[in-house]
Amino acid sequence: MTAVRPGSQPPTRAPDRSLSLIVLAIISSALLLISQERSWLAALPSFIGNILKNPLVASLVLTLFLANLLFAYRWNAQLWAKLLVGGLSLFLILPWAGRDNTSVFDLAIQIGIFAALSLGLNIVVGLAGLLDLGYIAFFAVGAYTWGIFGSGQIGKVMTYFKENGSNGPLTLIIGLALLIATALSLRAINRVKGKRTPAANWGFLLAALGLVIGVILTVRGAVILASAGTALGSGVNPNFFWLFLILAVAAAASVGVLIGLPVLKLKGDYLAIITLGLGEVIRVLANNLSIYSNGSQGITPIGSASVPWLDSLAGGLGFSPDQYNLFFLYFLVLVIIAVIILVNMRLDRSRIGRAWIAIREDEIAAQAMGIPLVQTKLIAFATGASFAGIMGVIFAAKQTFISPESFILTQSISVLSMVVLGGLGSIPGVILGAAVVTILNISLLPSLGEATANLNLPQQVNPAQLQRLVFGGILVAMMLFRPEGLLPSVRQRRMMHEDDDVAGNLTPQDSIAGELNPENAAEVYSPGIATRADNERGGGTQ
């Protein structure tokens, strides 16, 4: 990457804002708690109470409170102030508000889930530059992994195989043999240097097909064998939840590899449409393989682990027993997000992270530098998928119900919009993107409709009905005003403005663009993924 040129970004530090950060945090926390705590609300003059009770105001207060975390991260303030605000907000105020209003918990968990999904997709799209439009499939894999085992569904599966399954050991052996053989041959084919012959292509295809069949047979064999032994009427022991968190990661990552293997040779939009298709394949399979997934009827109730000391802590803090689960999941999401962020930061600076970016920028050059293309892309796919997988488990546990309609294409598109909106390749950016989109969709926009419920607006212009329109408008506006994303990654920003420092000296590229398109001369010049190619052809500055 380009090194920081001297003087390119003069270090103008903003004034210290520790005090304003703390004051703002106190005000917003107080407002949030007052608006959720009914007894406090009642004590206020009814005029103020009514304002705070207004759904729109309540939602804005909640948003402002969550924005504190952003300010704590962004503002120039003392470290202790940042930690204090962040820590108290996440560990004290938010659970407190959640006790009185579980929708706060729900929102926080949902933001966490989508933040993890965005971070995962960010690796695939933002770092490795592989446009994946079927990302939600991995989320589904995770959700079903726990959904099937954490509910009575596994009992049904076993009963089915007890009655209909035959010859478990043989199926298992054939499956395993096929699995190993095809995996080895895939590896062998991938190792062959030079141009692919049609024979190699066919071989690859056959091997990939065999691999899928091998996996199916292995799983089937294992299930038949297992069903002969035990009967799991109401799912596995909830304490296996922890195991399934890991299993879901493994399952999602393997599905990522399975999907990736045949398609990662493709480029750009060909890859986009294939991944979109394969995402749909997973959903349709979930809808059709009723034996395992209960089809469109969905699986319920799905259990979740319980941590006795956390439960008693929650009990001591005045949470009611039905809230223990949310309490537990909230903190679990926080821990997982923290881990995912750490992993992301490590990856970003690691050898593999640089390999991803190299592939994004120029595949052929990257290959020439000795980066194994397929392998590197597969790792990106699998890593991205694993984040979705683990959050799938949380989602299943939170909802206690999953059905294929939660994993539709629009969800994939929604996660993609979070990543782009936040800033491709930027870890804080995509988290912010996820938070903004989730808050808009779950809290702010619906509250518009709720706040105007009594105004008797005509049906057609009722805000309750216009959520998607408003959301679409916000999406367009944000992208027009901040095409680099809300918090662009430092690396990306540097690239986009690599010519800015040559003050007044228009590069040939710029001047052509300027002549061509005078009214756009002032626009952000940002050679992102696409315009790299334009640069080549334009014979620009490189």
Binding site: P198, D269, V284, I474, L480
Partner: protein, 337 residues
Amino acid sequence: MDFATLAPFLVGVIVSGLVLGFVYAIIALGYTMVYGVLQLINFAHSEVFVTGAVVGFEVFRVLGDSPMNGYLKLLIALLAAMLVSGLLNVLIERLAYRPLRNAPRLVPLITAIGVSLILQDLIRIIEGFQGRFDLTYRLPEGFSTSFCGAESSCAPIGKFLGTVGIQLQLKEVMLVVVSLIMLGGLNYLVNYTKLGRAIRAVAQDRVTAGLMGIDANGIISLTFLIGGALGGVSGVLFGLKFGTVNAYSGFDPGIVAFTAAVLGGIGSIPGAVLGGLVLGVIQNLIGVTNILGNVLGLANLGVIDSSYQRIGAFLVLVLILIFKPTGLLGRSNTEKV
């Protein structure tokens, strides 16, 4: 089941798949035109297409009682839809894509999604003010008559077609005819006119085309106009064939049509058509796989029924792209560093 019943059945399935394919093909052309010049997946095209369908609905509704010739009504509907959808597409380009011409590629993709959400609700609101949600085409009498069945009153040629399984309605024939005219026209425009050369030049290299004296932005607007007009036509044809649309019914055919465009080789005009036709036929064949399975004695195929139609098409796409990574008719340009 024997061959004598199965053959006309299969012919019928394939023919109806081809008719469906023509609808996909025309929608796919709209995607491919825009993609060709901007390398942008215009997600809003499905709403441009629905707008065309809504305009067509309104034309047939307003002209419903007039004694005007049915073909004339169809012509008016097509022209009106072309105009409205084309202008809408130009407007979308101007407002949502042009300011982002130099931004990373994914950014206009997201604005496209945003525009698509806005348009969906706008269409619903506009029709909702008149108490409508599902819009049912009021077609002139006779459009739905089957061209010929096995009835005795048929002309010999029609009777023959009926026995081999081809049973088309008048509107389906019109659909194919209109599609062919549009395809021919587009082909002529792009390949044999000065304007077409300009479009191709801009698609190839915007900057150099600008140096050659081509107004690149004007050409891009024009391409959006053509793409939108194609979307309008396909909307009316969709309404003609299926009879009912609503503000949200563009999404599914939009995705399939985009798949068709990719299958044919995105950016290639004949490719989009071929892709549409192939997908139409394949979708229908997958829908009847269970019947074929029963006949051929492959009981395991029995589970593959119409619920797999869509993903079957995707799996075929995977297969084809593994062998031809740039689609059926796409050119592979050699990349250099």
